[in-house]
Symmetry: C2
Subunit: 294 residues, 2 copies
């Protein structure tokens, strides 16, 4: 059966959107803190990371429900990272997905705590998953914390802060992005491979796919910052340029960045070919990055 990507993405986004509030509502959390956590968690993200996890399970013929708690935790971590990233001491952003950022609505102190709360709740949700064994949950938490923590995303954010004052080489830019955004794109594919018990070679091909996908995703973001419309992106266009940020576009030109995007998408898809799995959806997700408008 071929499932069209568009239908699949809508269906899975609706699923995770329906499930996420349950984790917040089940817990006795002070009202304002809960509102602040929910505001960012339910702010209309595309849920691309959960969808990657579900599509990997689909490729392995594993029940997607087995990935639900992990997907929920991952999305909480993604949300927390955006809240803290937007803080005055960090990127100092007022808008996110067309809405005021968390600290603009709830104040800085509650925004810091909402981020801390989402990060911590993420691990609670994975650890209390009833469908996975303790062994699998421990391995997932080990990888998720590694991907999100000081060796991964948090480390990448620090490198990004430090890079603001310098011109980077393309290699250094890629290494910052591998940490800052790449690890959290790789993780859902890794987790799916783990939960779906992929063979060793399949695991290697799937994670290689995810690594190229992560870079393609970031290059696409840089391109959209130049070519996208504010209405579609929900944020100021061209801000990377005015902030003199190191981006693929500033280092490679727009045309060069497009070629690099296309190259990573091709390589990602090539890796899927060797898995012998039902990777149609994963291929379509990679191809979708070539043409997305937000």
């Amino acid at each position: 059966m071929t499932v069209s990507l568009d239908t699949y993405m809508k269906e899975k986004k609706a699923w995770i959107d329906r499930v996420l509030p349950r984790y917040l509502n089940a817990a006795p959390i002070p009202e304002k803190l809960k509102s602040s956590m929910s505001y960012s968690l339910m702010a209309g993200g595309k849920r691309i990371r959960p969808i990657l996890l579900f599509a990997t399970l689909h490729a392995l013929g594993t029940d997607e429900e087995k990935g639900l708690c992990t997907a929920a935790g991952l999305e909480m971590i993604h949300s927390y990272s955006l809240i803290h990233d937007d803080l005055p001491a960090m990127d100092d952003d007022d808008l996110r997905r067309g809405k005021p950022t968390n600290h603009k609505v709830f104040g800085e102190a509650t925004a810091i705590l909402a981020g801390d709360g989402l990060l911590t709740l993420a691990f609670q949700v994975v650890a209390s998953d009833r469908l996975l064994s303790g062994e699998v949950k421990s391995r997932i938490i080990e990888r998720l914390s590694n991907a999100a923590g000081p060796e991964g995303m948090v480390g990448g954010q620090q490198e990004d802060l430090e890079a603001e004052e310098q011109a980077l080489t393309i290699d250094k830019l890629m290494s910052v992005h591998r940490r800052k955004t790449g690890r959290l794109i790789r993780f859902p594919v890794e987790a799916g491979a783990l939960i779906g018990e992929a063979a060793r070679e399949q695991y290697q091909c799937l994670t290689a796919y995810a690594d190229h996908l992560g870079l393609a995703f970031q290059i696409g973001d840089d391109i959209l910052d130049i070519t996208g419309s504010e209405a579609e992106l929900g944020k100021t266009v061209g801000s990377d340029l005015t902030n003199h940020k190191n981006t693929y576009v500033s280092l490679l030109t727009l045309d060069g960045a497009r070629k690099e995007l296309s190259r990573h998408v091709d390589r990602a898809i090539a890796y899927l070919g060797s898995t012998g799995l039902k990777t149609g959806l994963l291929e379509e997700i990679a191809a979708y990055l070539l043409h997305r408008t937000h």
Copy 2:
């Protein structure tokens, strides 16, 4: 064999102080971020939470090494909470344990990331523990995240923020403290009981002990804010009073707070009597709270 508490505390503090840097040094973390994380993690804390975990394992006759990763993770979470608590948007403190606070040394952005990094690394350290089964690790992570997260410590910090503008009743103050500081005092005893496979009744007595200990600990802190010396505390004395904070002393008077402290210590110790375990050290820890000077 009776081990004196003083020797035991020194020995265990030295052990955890020796082990903690290894987790940081083993990981490829950007230099400034690692320094910032290490600055607060190694700032000379008393390690009371790890010591509680080891003493609980000692009571159960379990090898204390089995608690080492959990103790390390717990101390990382305690450190992260202090970094974020001291931020300008939160308590805006310049001094902690007699030294400039993290954001004063490394800047606000890196301090936020160092806190995020320690919180995330904590779960990685527990999840990759080689001495515990996946099942036990998952249960420990479930409890640790629950104790530290929006239902526990982070929720308590939010309640504390909101309480700044109001006069609290003693019951409300206790409920804020149970979350904000109590849950992370209870956790090491809970984790020890879990790792040491305490029987159901033992588990209940040990955690009841820990709940009273947590309240005694907070009452003691409030008393020290009035009676302690700045040199011993490493922070400004009387700051609760000048900040019009709700404390046990402001609600109960100094004498009333001392009586309440003594009552909780007595009740904590009484619970230990019913466990049938070697609880000498745990008793001494409770008694120590009556007389500590910092």
